[in-house]
């Protein structure tokens, strides 16, 4: 794998990373500005997401319909979206249309006009989407799990897309106000594809480099979540459903925590490797109770959740919970086997070329690397980071973060 890339800094502080790939005639752009759903308040949950949705819906130069027409007539795509810590932007096009892609992207970022009619159109779509979510057992179990684990006082405890209570109340002034908090300082753009570094730098500098708002960048410091002191359980009744979804979990490590890799590898053993790791093995393969049963550790800018989840017949919810807790006890009581660790290390290092096969894959990797400040040589160091983790470190992470007594459990089903 060729791991070289070029790095530039635009006049306003945005970091630009360019990875040339001349195998395919396309180009992918992935960028972010600091600050996303973490800037929402409990009363105005969904504001960041609503705002980013509106940034693509009309600018000083183009209406929403015109943007769609321009982008799609060259089969390109342009997006602005919201993550828990950032406002993302970017797109994809054939290399011949790269300049057009950047112009539209910059237009969305710098000159959105928030037309009132478009706000109402988008509001209606968000409300419909949220109502669809209310019919989805998996979405609802995830939502209530976060609320139990973090409470709605913490940004991680709230849905990024907002709620049926908050969205109807958000005004155009609220959206504008949020937009005016965004700032390019500490932002980054990654460009991967059939382009050259110098050419990309010139185009991006001209399009984005002069964007220098007078206000200060937003304060993105996350309050620490309050750890659970006792088991928290919520059952959400959804009449007419055939299956129940459950999520059971705890606060996990931050992405930059020293023991993140131990947790990450441990989680792969617990709920990913093969047919869903140990949890998939027992719940799906041995007991035949679920089509999916896995575990996930999310890392993130703050302590993201570490959780197990499954979709099962309502009659076996309790049994599934017991099986998961039994796996957690084993995971804490004894180190994983040498074989499990070796398999997982081989998997996570071996799969890297697959993840880096496409421009999208490379772009996502490079952007994460920059966002989490993992170092420019991160990809080269990655195999060593994975191989360095020991069985004892995994057990210690399991003991530190997980518990079979104190956990959040949300179940959504009939």
């Amino acid at each position: 794998m060729n791991l070289t890339f070029a790095k530039y800094t635009l006049s306003n502080g945005i970091t630009l990373i360019v990875k040339e790939n001349h195998h395919a005639h396309s180009v992918v752009v992935r960028g972010y500005l600091p600050g996303g759903a973490n800037l929402d308040t409990a009363e105005q949950v969904g504001l960041a997401s609503f705002t980013s949705g509106m940034m693509r819906r009309g600018t000083e130069k183009h209406s929403y319909a015109e943007i769609n027409e321009i982008v799609e007539s060259v089969a390109a795509s342009v997006y602005v979206n919201t993550g828990r810590h950032l406002t993302g932007f970017g797109g994809k096009s054939l290399a011949e249309d790269f300049k057009l892609l950047v112009e539209l992207m910059a237009d969305n970022l710098l000159c959105p006009t928030f037309p009132s009619a478009e706000i109402e159109k988008l509001r209606g779509q968000i409300i419909t989407d949220l109502k669809e979510d209310e019919d989805d057992t998996r979405t609802m179990s995830g939502r209530y799990f976060r609320e139990l684990l973090y409470t709605i006082d913490h940004p991680y405890g709230r849905p990024v897309d907002g709620t049926l209570k908050s969205i109807p109340l958000l005004t155009r002034a609220d959206l504008l106000d949020f937009y005016h908090r965004l700032h390019p300082q500490d932002g980054a753009v990654v460009v991967v594809g059939d382009v050259t570094g110098e050419e990309v730098y010139q185009i991006l500098e001209a399009a984005l480099g002069q964007w220098q708002p007078v206000h200060a960048p937003p304060d993105t410091v996350l309050p620490p979540p309050r750890p659970l002191t006792e088991k928290a359980v919520y059952l959400h009744r959804m009449p007419g459903k055939f299956q129940a979804d459950l999520v059971l979990g705890w606060l996990g490590p931050e992405r930059r925590a020293d023991d993140f890799y131990a947790a990450y590898i441990g989680n792969t053993i617990l709920g990913q490797l093969g047919l869903g790791g140990r949890i998939g093995q027992i719940v799906r393969d041995t007991e035949g109770m679920a089509y999916y049963a896995n575990a996930s550790v999310q890392g993130g800018g703050g302590p993201g959740p570490w959780y197990a989840f499954a979709g099962v017949n309502p009659q076996v919810v309790d049994k599934t919970v017991e099986l998961i807790l039994a796996e957690i006890r084993r995971f804490q009581a004894e180190p994983v086997s040498n074989e499990e660790l070796a398999d997982t290390q081989a998997y996570l290092t071996g799969v890297l070329p697959l993840q880096m096969e496409t421009n999208e894959g490379v772009g996502t990797m490079l952007l994460d690397m920059y966002f989490y400040q993992l170092g420019d040589d991160y990809i080269a160091r990655y195999p060593d980071l994975i191989k360095a983790v020991t069985r004892e470190e995994i057990q210690a992470a399991a003991q530190k973060y997980l518990s079979d007594e104190v956990y959040a459990l949300a179940v959504a089903g009939p």
Binding site: H23, K121, K131, D135, Q243, N313, V351
Partner: protein, 425 residues
């Protein structure tokens, strides 16, 4: 990117296994796909879902790769794998670092010949598949789709979902599964596609070694069921607890090999954009989005022509915007369909669709796994050489042809309409 026909090596082993090899050295990755010409199309009443179930059973192991080891072996070699079953075919794939290709070939040749269909494993998988089905039953759109298709088809197996009816899943036996496996999952009914960082000679020799000794079975029985022409409009209304309303309609059309297939694909592109490639869907400048989403009647809308071995429908589907009704959705859609029948689409629309097709196809070529998938898919539906001519054939479609297929197929007596009306709690 070079993508000429002469780069594909195409040959057939004496036992009937067709092999397609394509070297592509853009990344140190290889993707091998084994396709079987079997799917829900080959199922009889009482045994629906059996193909999908066999697909699951083929992950349960062989004497050489015991239970649990297939996925684990691929993972520990830095690879990913999966399998899926559709109407017309079943496919298994492994995408691996290119120096590990041998593992993928060993797994596929071994489970073609030696899958253990163990009684206890059949029973444990029965409830897994029922759980998979119940996950679908939780979703209003899935329920509506099952009802609409079962209403649109009275004879042909396309009328049931790939996963099968629940009672059939309760009744199918270990022996049913074993017979199905023996009948359809042999070299005589399969196509192996390998794309990626490979050396043709070495791979060819290894394929001969691994797959050559597997005996061919008798030819599977042909599918002879034909759906009689629909004589009158059919409608279904699903009322269940929920918060959102949905609309779906289907019109019977033609098989993928028919001359109308490309005009129908172009019609789909004009109505709801091109979404088959590796790029984002290009639907927001297309007709249906403008007519239904921009006017605040739908939150989402799409159209799709399913290319299949036997005639499959052209579908319309969407989420009704909160506060609006499926009837309003249907009225606007009818106006759009009438417009297609009345006047030809514009050259501008055709030009945009052609560019989208070209770009999406280029995006598709970026992954070795996508290339392998496309080659196999084309071969399942007729001939992999369509992979080379696909963009040109689609681009050659004229406005007159689009109007002709709209007039021919989009008639009231040829459609089945479904509404999902939520009973709000």
């Amino acid at each position: 990117m070079n993508n000429k026909r002469d780069e594909v090596v195409d040959y057939t082993l004496p036992n009937g296994l067709k092999v397609l090899l394509k070297p592509l050295h853009t990344a140190p990755v290889v993707s091998n796909w084994l396709w079987y010409r079997v799917g829900s199309r080959n199922e009889l009443p009482g045994k629906t879902g059996i193909s999908h179930w066999v697909e699951h059973m083929m992950f349960k192991g062989t004497p050489t790769f015991p239970k649990g080891s297939i996925m684990l072996e691929v993972n520990r070699n830095g690879g990913v794998l999966n399998g899926f079953t559709s109407h017309d075919y079943t496919a298994y794939f492994e995408t691996l670092p290119s120096d590990r290709l041998d593992l993928g070939l060993r797994i596929e040749s071994d489970r073609m010949a030696n899958s253990v269909i163990d009684l206890a494993e059949v029973e444990s998988e029965r409830t897994v598949i029922i759980a998979e089905r119940e996950g679908g039953e939780n979703e209003p759109e899935w329920v509506l789709y099952e009802e609409v298709m079962a209403t649109a088809f009275r004879v042909h197996p396309y009328g049931h979902m790939v996963i099968g009816w629940k009672d059939d899943l309760l009744n199918i036996t270990r022996n049913d599964l074993y017979q199905h496996y023996k009948m359809y999952y042999g070299p005589h009914n399969a196509v192996l596609v390998v794309v990626g960082d490979i050396q043709i000679d070495r791979v060819q020799a290894r394929i001969d070694e691994l797959f050559g000794p597997i005996p061919a079975g008798p030819p599977p029985p042909p599918v002879q069921l034909k759906e009689p022409p629909q004589q009158s409009e059919r409608r279904v209304i699903v009322r269940q607890p929920g918060n959102a309303a949905y609309f779906q309609s289907v019109y019977h059309t033609c098989a993928a090999a028919h001359e109308d297939a490309f005009p129908l694909m172009m019609l789909e592109a004009i109505l709801s954009g091109v979404s088959f490639g590796g790029g984002a869907p290009t639907h927001r400048s297309a007709r249906l989005y403008r007519a239904l989403v921009e006017t605040e009647i739908a939150a989402y809308v799409g159209a799709h022509y399913q290319t299949s071995l036997d005639p499959d429908p052209f579908r319309f589907y969407g989420t009704v915007r909160d506060g609006r009704s499926p009837a309003e959705f249907e009225a606007v859609l009818d106006t759009e369909i009438e417009r297609l029948r009345r006047e030809p689409v514009t050259e501008e629309e055709l030009a945009r669709a052609r560019k989208q097709v070209r770009a999406q196809f280029a995006y598709t070529l970026e992954r070795v796994s996508s290339q392998a998938q496309w080659l196999g898919l084309m071969e399942m539906l007729g001939d992999w050489r369509q992979f080379d001519t696909f963009v040109d054939n689609l681009s050659a479609v004229t406005a007159v042809e689009v109007q002709r297929v709209a007039q021919q197929y989009f008639t009231p007596s040829n459609r089945t309409v479904g509404w999902f009306e939520p009973i709000r709690g």
